[in-house]
């Protein structure tokens, strides 16, 4: 593909998927750092423009964002550790970025329960619940088979349920929220 063609395709991809990629990153690393990550994702897309299959652009972008975030997240995690050591601040719960954007108490507790899972379980649930991807799309993001994706989703959901059920606080909050919704 020539440069003009590549630019045009990148523009199209950007226009169609920018919001989704930004949301994906914001959900994981917080809004303030998301722009940089998104720019890096689209820079990778520009370099690999010939290799991106039109049918799987969105999972490809999420998959790339996942890896760019992994690098970024390591760096932030180290800063986070350093900051906590220096300030001797008490740790409230797992060092997951979502804690920065909590909207409600029950959401916070659900996110805390989520953060207690393995990262791979967390990611598959985030892709299911927040990115609303199908099992086959998740398979494309994670580079696994559809059947493996289906199994991972099921197992991760089971583990999250177990965590929630083993946490009296979380369970109470969720039940209270349910009752509130019913009434």
């Amino acid at each position: 593909m020539d440069t003009a063609g590549a630019d045009e395709r990148l523009n199209q991809i950007f226009e169609h998927h920018y919001n989704d990629v930004l949301a994906y990153c914001s959900r994981r690393i917080g809004r303030s750092d998301a722009d940089d990550v998104v720019a890096e994702v689209f820079a990778v897309a520009w370099r690999r423009i010939d290799q991106i299959d039109s049918d799987t652009i969105r999972p490809w972008l999420f998959g790339t964002a996942r890896w760019v975030l992994a690098n970024r997240w390591r760096s932030l995690r180290r800063w986070d550790r350093l900051h906590r050591k220096m300030s001797a601040l008490a740790r409230t719960y797992a060092d997951s970025p979502e804690v920065l954007i909590v909207r409600r108490e029950e959401d916070r507790e659900m996110l805390e329960a989520l953060s207690r899972l393995k990262e791979s379980d967390q990611e598959v649930l985030r892709l299911t619940a927040w990115e609303e991807l199908t099992a086959s799309e998740i398979a494309a993001v994670l580079n696994i088979t559809v059947s493996a994706a289906e199994k991972r989703i099921q197992r991760a959901l089971q583990r999250l349920t177990n965590v929630v059920e083993s946490s009296p606080t979380t369970q109470l909050s969720l039940r209270a929220a349910e009752k509130k919704a019913e009434s």
């Binding site: 630019d7 919001n19 914001s26 959900r27 390591r74 760096s75 954007i101 580079n143 369970q171």
Partner: protein
């Protein structure tokens, strides 16, 4: 509580329920796209050095240094001895069941040396035994969740760790150099990871360290060619999960064993020859990084177009056994419409191929238009009188000149 309810609650806990709302606060698209574009264009690409005309010079040329060297991984291990550290809340990874307590005043260097020895002996269990559960072994390239996975990968790819220096007193900062058989096989012995810091000794007498991490997440683990290897591995190792950019997923011992085997096969002369043969058979120029003829460096795509235009049939007879230091010299025969017009059989010459990391870095072909040197020279002298075929005394190799040269050969033979 049903899984359905849990999933519903998780959906409601989405920190960004409306992606469109983010856009309002986003930088202007044009600005962002421009930034992406500039970032993409300013990225350095790997260029093979110019090819001097005599083929033998290729062998003397020093290999291209690829950015970011793996061999010089500098890991700074420091013992952060902080007064009152026992009173501090400790770092707890999400799934760590028990917090680790770091103790003051313990020299971590013997533990560090023990860890290095175990790693260099390929003793994964021994290396892990030295480490605290608190130790982080995250490779900056990919997934994998435990030190067991990541160190298993490093051992499997033949990693050798050298302790370069250590401080004599707290904080005992140490730096290490890492080289791997894997990167060396691919021709990137200098690939590096950036420096990092690591830390303390826990109350069980185990090393708490942040191996392989970096504050500089932008330093690449892979040269740009990495993606080509992963793409090839994806087709050759269908059982493995391989991200097209970042490689095996997860990085563990099994992935390391497969990656090592793949690297050997990827960079083998046999595969290079096969790749070249396919490229020649299909006139694909994309397999070559830099091309040259006996007249000097030329762009690969125009050269291929030239060969197509003169209806060239190329016979490349490479013997992988003759490969030496990433260079193969192969007999080459060319028969083309020009040969036919000149009444000549196929001309014989040679092609010199330089490769690294499984990729053809440079190709130099000698193009003769007749098997009789006198006929070749006479025709070239004639062609020099035709407008548009030569520039600054050298034959132009592109599609247009190929077509014109074929016409000139027919004219020449009619004289």
């Amino acid at each position: 509580m049903s899984e359905h309810v849990i999933l519903k609650r998780l959906r409601e806990a989405n920190p960004v329920p409306d992606p469109a709302s983010l856009r309002e606060a986003s930088p202007d698209d044009a600005i962002l796209l421009t930034a992406i574009d500039e970032r993409s264009r300013s990225m350095s690409t790997q260029q093979a050095p110019p090819i001097p005309p005599p083929p033998t010079d290729l062998k003397r040329r020093r290999p291209l240094l690829i950015a970011a060297a793996f061999a010089v991984v500098t890991i700074l291990i420091g013992a952060a001895i902080v007064l009152g550290v026992n009173d501090e809340p400790e770092v707890v990874a999400p799934n760590d069941p028990v917090p680790t307590t770091v103790v003051d005043g313990v020299d971590p260097r013997p533990l560090s040396a023990q860890w290095v020895d175990a790693m260099n002996q390929g003793d994964l269990e021994g290396a892990l035994a030295v480490l605290s559960p608190e130790a982080s072994c995250d490779l900056p390239i990919g997934s994998g969740e435990t030190c067991q996975q990541h160190l298993g990968y490093l051992i499997a790819i033949g990693t050798h760790i050298e302790t370069r220096r250590c401080g004599e007193e707290p904080p005992y900062r140490c730096s290490y150099g890492l080289t791997s058989e894997f990167h060396a096989t691919l021709g990137y012995p200098d690939h590096s990871l950036p420096a990092t810091t690591a830390i303390e000794v826990d109350e069980e007498g185990r090393l708490v360290a942040d191996f392989f991490g970096s504050e500089d997440a932008s330093t690449p683990y892979w040269p740009s060619e990495g993606g080509d290897l992963w793409g090839w591995m994806q087709s050759e190792y269908p059982g493995m999960t391989i991200h097209p950019i970042f490689g095996p997923d997860p990085y563990d011992e099994a992935a390391g064993i497969a990656a090592m085997e793949a690297a050997r096969r990827f960079n083998s002369p046999e595969r290079i020859v096969q790749q070249l043969q396919l490229a020649f058979d299909s006139y694909a120029s994309s397999g070559f990084r830099q091309c040259a003829t006996q007249e000097g460096p030329v762009e690969c795509a125009p050269l291929v177009n030239f060969l197509k235009a003169i209806d060239a049939q190329l016979g490349l007879e490479c013997d992988p056994a003759t490969a030496e230091a990433g260079v193969i010299t192969c007999p080459l025969t060319i028969e083309s419409g020009i040969h036919q017009a000149l009444g000549s059989g196929a001309s014989t010459s040679e092609a010199v191929i330089e490769y690294r990391g499984g990729l053809t870095q440079a190709l130099q072909v000698e193009i003769r238009f007749a098997d009789d040197p006198a006929v070749h020279d006479a025709f070239v002298a004639y062609a020099a009188t035709v407008d548009g075929l030569f520039q600054e005394g050298e034959l132009i190799f592109d599609g247009d000149s190929g077509r014109s040269l074929l016409d000139a050969a027919r004219d020449f033979s009619g004289q």
